[in-house]
Amino acid sequence: MLHGYTGSLLDGAWLTFQVAVCSLALALALGLAGASAKLSKLRLLRAPAVAYTTVVRGIPDLVMMLLVFYGGQMLINAATDALEWDYVEVNPFTAGVATLGFIFGAYFTETFRGAFLAVPAGQLEAGAAYGMSRWQVFRRILFPQMLRHALPGLGNNWQVMQKSTALVSIIGLSDITWLADQAGRSTHQPFLFYAVVCAFYLAMTALSALVFNALERRYSVGVRRAAA
């Protein structure tokens, strides 16, 4: 049905999925670090975190990606020349994951920050009153409750992020979008192949909505809902 391109499209779909998951891991790490920095008492930590979230959320992801891909290569060339090392090429996968992780790290920072603030101070004080150490309070009380507040926001960020993975095709990564483009050109049926890409993204976003609903149920155990 797909003129022998089924296998190649599946490879592309797998690559897109890898880009999405790797960027998610990076963005979650950056988001937690960013939120901790923003909530820190130290100005030295707060100021760069504020600059990070403001600047990154004010610039289109495509511009950021082109900057990291082309600019990153130039910086690395300058560094390897100065150190007299061999030429190192930035591959599109690393550039794509680094950029997506860096951009969405800023959105996750805001989500995590809001969620940390939503945990009532009384909960933390109660933990301290039981004689728990700061680490114990974080692990047993702050983090699980924070996650409950963060999950809806994380789900939204993740939905936006999955759709942004299509941009890596522009910096030459052979993801599903790039492969569909090639297949569409050689068969003169671009509509068909782009429609397949649409179906893939719809399936991926629908599946992750299911996962997030399950997670939200898991982390909302014991929360009473007012009858509507």
Binding site: I59, V63, M64, L167, T177, G184, F191, Y201, L202
Partner: protein, 241 residues
């Protein structure tokens, strides 16, 4: 480290690109918003014949990347012989889909329309029961109630969420550069390939986008002060506590 000459020399191009970015953003937001109002009313309708098609529309446009939607319309439509026939016959409507500008506008407008429809539908559902009952008690018809009570209230409530959508749209227009349009991002890509100066080209474009974003945020803050004045936090009296 930055070579400012490159930026100064290409300033006229950046101005042209900025103008195209502004056009694409403003026109698609306007068209999307105007379409989204009837769509949102249909979306919350009890009649599934009205609600379901709108749900399918918003589900598709919110579940797939805008880049693919753009490629689907710009490159994809030419696959169909019937549309090629329309182009040859000079059909005004279908010729829009042969130009990158028309394709970009249509895609962006439909995309923002889908998101705005869901935002407005949420705001319509959040209408307090009392307002609807009061309107019914005054003897308003459904159309009058929509016009006087439901839609104005929903537009106000939707404002904070809509400001995010407007910023996403501004940033989304950057993908117009993938179908040969020379918007702000398109200029940056041209400047990069002429001079091999990625920092000058993309940082300067990024800086303009940042200013545009701040401008939009400022405009929406003014709009909220005007239309959500009743929700502004009251000035606390200092010695009350």
């Amino acid at each position: 480290m930055m070579d400012w000459h490159i930026i100064v020399d290409s300033l006229p191009q950046y101005v042209d690109g900025l103008w195209l970015t502004v056009q694409l953003t403003v026109l698609s937001l306007l068209a999307g918003l105007v379409l989204a109002i009837p769509f949102a009313v249909a979306r919350i309708s009890a009649n599934p014949l009205l609600a379901k098609p709108v749900w399918v529309f918003t589900y598709f446009f919110r579940g797939t990347p805008m880049l693919i939607q753009l490629l689907l319309i710009y490159y994809g439509l030419g696959q169909f012989e019937w549309i090629q026939q329309q182009w040859q016959d000079g059909s005004r409507f279908w010729l829009v889909f042969r130009e990158p500008y028309g394709c970009a506008l249509v895609t962006f407008a439909l995309n923002t329309c889908a998101y705005t429809t869901e935002i407005l539908a949420g705001a319509l559902r959040a209408t307090p029961h009392g307002e609807i009952e009061a309107a019914q008690a005054c003897g308003m018809s459904r159309a009058t109630m929509l016009r006087r009570i439901l839609i104005p209230g929903a537009l106000r409530r939707a404002l904070p969420a809509y400001s995010n959508e407007a910023i996403f749209m501004l940033h989304g227009t950057a993908i117009a550069s993938t179908i040969t349009l020379v918007d702000l991002t398109g200029v940056a890509r041209n400047v990069y390939s002429q001079h091999f100066a990625p920092f000058e080209a993309f940082l300067f474009a990024g800086f303009i986008y940042l200013l545009l974003t701040f401008g939009l945020v400022g405009l929406f803050r003014l709009a909220e002060r005007r239309w959500l004045a009743h929700l502004q936090p009251r000035k606390a009296v200092k010695d009350a506590a």
